[in-house]
Amino acid sequence: MTSRLHTKLRRDLWSSKWQFLAVAFIVMLGVAMFEAGFVSFRNMSESYNLSYTRLRFADFWIPFDRAPYDLTRRIAALPGVDRVVGRIVVEAPLRLSAETSPAAGINGAEQEEVKIIGRFISLPARERAALNDVRVVEGRYFSPAGKREALVEKSFAQHHQFRLGDTLTAEVGSGTEEFRIVGFVISPEYIIALRNEQYAMPTPSTFGVIFIPQERAEDIFEMSGQINEVCVRVLPGMTKSERNDIMWQAHDLLHPYGAEDPVPQEEQASNHALQMDLKALANLATVYPTLFLAAAALTIYTLLMRLVYAQRPHIGFLRASGFTQGDVLRHYLAFALVVGITGGMTGIALGYYLGLVITNQYTTTLNIPYVATPFRWDAVAYGFGAAMGACLAAGFIPARAAGTLPPAVAMRDETPPVGRRPILEWLFPPLARLPYVVKIPLRNLFRAPRRTVYTAFGIASGVSLVLVSAMFLDAIDFAIGSYFNKMQRYDMLVMFLPMQSEDLAYHLAQKPGVRRAEAGLQLPVEIIKGERKFSTLLLALPRHGRLYRVLDPRGEPMDLKGDGLLIGDLVRRRLGVETGDWVLLRYAQSSDEVKAEAWVRVGERIQQPATTMVYMPLDVAQRLFTSALDLPSRPTTGIQLQVEPQYLDALKRELYELPHAAAVELTRDSKADLDRMMAFTYAFIGTMLLFGVGLAFAIVFNTLSINILERTRELAAMRTLGLRRRQLAAMITIENVLTACLGLLIGIPLGYAECLWFIRLYQSETVTLELIIYPRTYVLVVAGTVLVVLLSQIPALRWINRLDLAKATKERSG
């Protein structure tokens, strides 16, 4: 291309700068999303892998009752086993005073004491663990002689604001044991500190992980020379099925010792949750950017087609003067190239920054032992490639059209398209009698159907993206609202370790301020149907309970009838079960020795707004599991309380004094915890919503401006014929609003389909969201779209008002 063509390119870009900037903006959004998703995905997955490698994350775990330590040698001797670690893992109530945990005194009580569930895990004191080691982030590792030392998992320590040197008191058996905190650690097993796979989110206010020296664990839990869990790593390069063979061989060896089901690495709670997150990030890095870049491509195509149309005489002249087809093609392709470079580079910068923000958010929220954030040239290359690919592909068709336009044709005025009465007027004859100010816009829609369809699809893609983001906000709001307003109606939950008799509920109901007390039984379970298995929590509730309600399909609270297991739609789909089917319900920590499982029938349908928990009447669960698990009569894991607000804090203190009370959870605090955790999600969805609105605005602004500018001569002619500016504005507005309506007609079903797709994507084993779009959201989307249309046509209308009529009617439009 010659240099004066460059000058033309530069000045043409400048003269339509707002249109080109709008497209570059869409490209920027698409690339930014790709970049943010890709960078954070790579950062996180590499960080996890790095941490797993450095801290020697196990390939599988097998918990069991207890066995001699020497058993690890027999497992190590299995062919294919690389390393075996035997350890003690025991949960016991942990007593935290306000002195050790300032968080416990937040509500103003000076010497308030809280109790939570502590998971004590043994680690060798004189050497580092061969598998599942920890990284000390503050303080130090155990000293060889420091039997009373403890290492506390970082997120738990942060939540309770522990300091090095603080003392922790555990209730073990009938006595207490004290530990001095010497270090805060991060563990590859608790990057997300979940109690087990059935929990959707970490609960540092009620659950924490403490690492203690092996010898001390043996002493206090009376397991001298014994262990109750093995962690195993197989030789590198083994397939999953080879690993599984070894896992089950190890399980066979542990069979006489009450082995529970083994936990392969992919089912390990923290790792599983992290992989789900990674999946979501991977989707973010592909689905949304694809939508944006497709929209950008469509807009570039429309914009360049319009430019080529408007510059037909110039193209004719260039070709007549001896410029080759290739010169002209490259000239028009350069417009797309500039958009691609501008949008791509800014998108990469913005997206890379967002990627680092997301990474930073993850690394501060989660406890990732080792973070890998090298500069990712591949992310830059892919982002740039995606931008250029989309832009050049979209620009190629108009550029080729320009290049191959025969010069003689280019210099002729185009034959006006054949005028026809639109089909709508045939179907509805009264339309033909409408005033011209309405009839002309209506006919315009049918006159250039391709243009109308492009515009409508442009609007539709913006609408659909806005709808998807808005749907997530509605679905989360609905889930949280339903959960706290309709389901979880208690103010306080006291949890016991070990389980207690539900008679305690009657005792607690007598306490001052308590309006109602109901017992519940919460058990980690597996539901098995044929080859399919689903791990979740079973919540058994009183048949006529009021403090935790199960919702019927209409979303209304219902009483629990019959003996059936109540399962939400997501779990039904995963298992392929329907009401009336038989499923095997197994206590998740069942072993061959302690077999706690029963065949139960799937009960009636329920609405399950947030979690994947399953429900059954308390008496049925007690009947099924009490003797199998050797539980006390009519066992309960926790009692729900409805309490007068002014008694909440006093009652909480009092409840900690109850024997075996492991933790007290206030709904008020849970809500606050949830709000804190959701802040990132809301910010994230809010950003997506803004991106969607930005996209919608850019598309609508561009397509409408183009539509108007394309018809300069026609509009100027109408002005010269005597139409007032206001009439012309009204006609354009009617046409644009009609196009917007068409866009909405396409966009809302399209958005709904995208919502269905996205909601399936984000349903995990532990969290379920239903597709909820409030009617007000539809109203807002429709009103917002019309508003965007009205706003984005303003520049074009102003331009028409300033038209030099004599010039515009004489010259070719463009």
């Binding site: 000058t7 000045r11 005489p313 002249f317 003067s321 001896g322 006006p416 070719r812």
Partner: protein, 238 residues
Amino acid sequence: MSEDGKSLVHLDHVAKAYTMGEVVVHALRDVTLDIHAGEFVVLLGPSGSGKTTLLNIVGGLDTPTSGRVLVRGQDIATFNETQLTTYRRQMVGFIFQFFNLIPTLTAQENVELVAELVGKREQARRRLEQVGLGERAHHFPSELSGGEQQRVAIARALAKEPELILGDEPTGNLDYETSLRVLRALRDINRQQHKTMLIVTHNSALAQMADTIIRLRSGRVVEVKRNDNPLEPEELQW
């Protein structure tokens, strides 16, 4: 050389038909004529007579449906796209009724754009001075009058130093006074630089300054007339 050995351009039984919307238009029917080197030829005819089509075919912008178009003995009707582009680049300069200047380039840049094609960018300024627009070189088309714009277009056509200059209604969009100035520029170039001019117009007054007048009607040549005493542009009246 063409058939008679003297013609720069020889059209031999040229016909052209094309479709416009749903209509087939026979723009040229069996046209045979010669244009000699250094001649000032005016092509006259009413709207739709095929003038522009003929001009486009001679200029290599369009190809005939049948017949031969010999330019310096070579049949450009058989040229492929690349050969036609080279032909236009080296042989032809165009002047259009609506000037077709690039609005985002200045007068000088418009001329340079074309001059660059043949590596004569530095001559752009001189070409503008030749048409009396040296002072207006850095103005954009929108800052120039119609006559000035057309003179820029002439300078642009000259920039490649082509043998053949084709004008499609070059004064069609100009008033009388301005038209005279444009015609004077064309006449000077024809006489001083010996460029062959083929000017299409429906203004019969222009025929009086031509060496040869060709009349077209309904796609056929109805008259080819030699004018032994062409008038100067300033002598024309309409």
